[in-house]
């Protein structure tokens, strides 16, 4: 018998090599208790959370929790059905209404996860003879959306406006084109030059989809994302987002002003052939989204946190993914996986959780300690975090 698992041997070996040194498995951490959006108990130790994407700290908001409990009581634990059959409750409509209001757009379609939103929209709207032009550093869900469909895929160098424009010009003028961009790229926390990229895409007759998963809630005047901050909302055809970051629960969505958008509910397989979100989840999401519309103070504090952490880490001597803080993600670049894993573990012992990111998820084979800040991190906590980075960095020889 040919063991179908032999193809995983190199990865199994790499993991064994890493864990042999006695390092805690960075991909198998358990949160034993969660006290707040910024603190959990891991291995019995109080741990500051700096790797959760919980940007706006909505997970323990009293209004959000009350809405979820009420929905659980009134509508039960789950819908047991697809959105197009028995799985659309009042709450699903209400959360789509909240999204339309949040983005000031005509249509909103909610999926069971953010991954499925990209999978569904991209694979459905780009057909066999159409072209998808995408940034090479796009998220896995975007690539998987391309793989699920059968369009022609054209990648271009990360955030390179000229590379995008050149490729658009070489494509047949009459062909259907979808340009796929992200507002914030989650690995390095850098922002896309959407203003220019959307302009060259529109000039070439392409439709534009922007994934704003990592910007919703705090970038842009109303928290609508990088497209809002750069003034190109009206030229973006589709915005993809998630409930599992700033909104604080789980789910995904697409908003659009396209006049025929609603037909997607019947033809988009990752929307049709899966059960809808539980009533408690859509209730918490709707409440959270409506509160995020009026969170200017929290947005300002989150930016302060991001700036302070970026400046502080740089002062300590760490190499960061961006020269300036561009989002709530600060990526600390590690020389290699072994040092990265050692540093990750040293931080955990100090009482700090960050994400260890490694290839193939990262660009250019980098190992990263990815930090994502929360609007509810206090000034004192950011100070504590910097102290922990200093101690762990010196203990592992990452800084002198």
């Amino acid at each position: 018998m040919n063991d179908l698992f032999s193809k995983f041997d190199p990865l199994i070996e790499m993991r064994e090599g890493l864990l042999k040194g006695g390092v805690t498995d960075p991909f198998n951490l358990v949160m034993e208790r969660v006290e707040s959006p910024t603190v959990a108990i891991c291995n019995g130790r109080r741990t500051i959370l700096l790797g959760t994407y919980n940007y706006m700290g909505m997970t323990f908001d009293p209004d959000v929790i009350a809405a979820g409990k009420r929905a659980l009581d009134e509508f039960g634990s789950g819908t047991t059905g697809s959105r197009v059959l028995n799985g659309t409750y009042a709450g699903h409509r209400a959360v789509e209404d909240a999204l339309r209001d949040f983005y000031a757009m005509d249509h909103a379609m909610v999926f069971s996860t953010g991954y499925q939103a990209n999978l569904g929209i991209i694979s459905t709207i780009a057909g066999k003879d159409d072209y998808i032009i995408l940034d090479i550093d796009s998220h896995a869900s975007i690539y998987d959306g391309c793989a699920l469909g059968n369009a022609q895929i054209v990648p271009f160098r990360h955030n390179d406006i000229e590379a995008l424009e050149k490729r658009l010009k070489r494509l047949p003028p009459e062909a259907g084109k979808l340009v796929v961009l992200e507002g914030v790229y989650s690995m390095l926390g850098d922002v896309a030059p959407l203003k220019d990229m959307v302009a060259v895409s529109k000039a070439a007759g392409a439709m534009v989809l922007v994934d704003e998963a990592h910007s919703m809630g705090f970038i842009g005047e109303h928290g609508r994302g990088v497209a809002e901050a750069q003034g190109v909302m009206d030229d973006v055809d589709f915005i993809i987002g998630t409930f599992s970051k700033s909104v604080g629960t789980v789910g995904g969505f697409c908003v659009s002003n396209h006049p025929k958008f609603e037909i997607l509910r019947l033809v988009c397989r990752p929307y049709v052939f899966t059960a809808s979100l539980p009533p408690s989840v859509v209730a918490t999401a709707a409440t959270s989204i409506r509160k995020l519309m009026h969170s200017a103070d929290k947005r300002a504090h989150l930016w302060e946190n991001s700036k302070r952490l970026h400046a502080g880490l740089r002062q300590l001597g760490f190499t960061l993914g961006t020269d300036e803080p561009q989002s709530a993600i600060i990526a600390v670049i590690m020389p290699d996986l072994e040092t990265g894993a050692a540093m990750w573990e040293a931080l955990l012992h100090e009482g700090l959780y960050v994400n260890l990111a490694r290839p193939p998820a990262t660009p250019a084979g980098m190992t990263l300690l990815r930090c994502s800040l929360c609007a509810l991190h206090s000034e004192e906590q950011v100070g504590e975090i910097l102290g922990m980075f200093a101690a762990a960095g010196r203990a592992t020889g990452c800084i002198s």
Binding site: Y131, I136, C146, Q152, I153, V154, P155, F156, R157, A163, K166, R167, R170, L171, P363, A364, G365
Partner: protein, 81 residues
């Protein structure tokens, strides 16, 4: 020199600066196994080829191209089209 020979010569010229292992390149040379290029090197190379020949090599086409010779054939076809 035929068109195909000219294409081959140009491809070899673009392979050379990225041929860090100093592999002796023929039409049968494979990008992944022989040249040992990672995905980023492939992206650079494809971008250079696209600019040189003013064509698009989609990821769908890249999946079918394993060797230098196959790339030359694909480029000939793209330019004829």
């Amino acid at each position: 020199m035929t068109d195909r020979q000219a294409t081959y010569a140009k491809v070899l010229e673009l392979v050379e600066p990225l041929n860090k292992k100093g592999v002796a390149v023929t039409e049968a040379t494979r990008f992944a196994q022989d040249l040992e290029w990672d995905s980023l090197t492939v992206l650079d190379f494809v971008a250079n080829i696209e600019d040189e020949f003013d064509v698009i090599i989609t990821m769908n086409m890249q999946a079918e191209i394993e060797t230098i010779g196959q790339l030359v054939d694909a480029l000939d076809k793209l330019q004829a089209g």
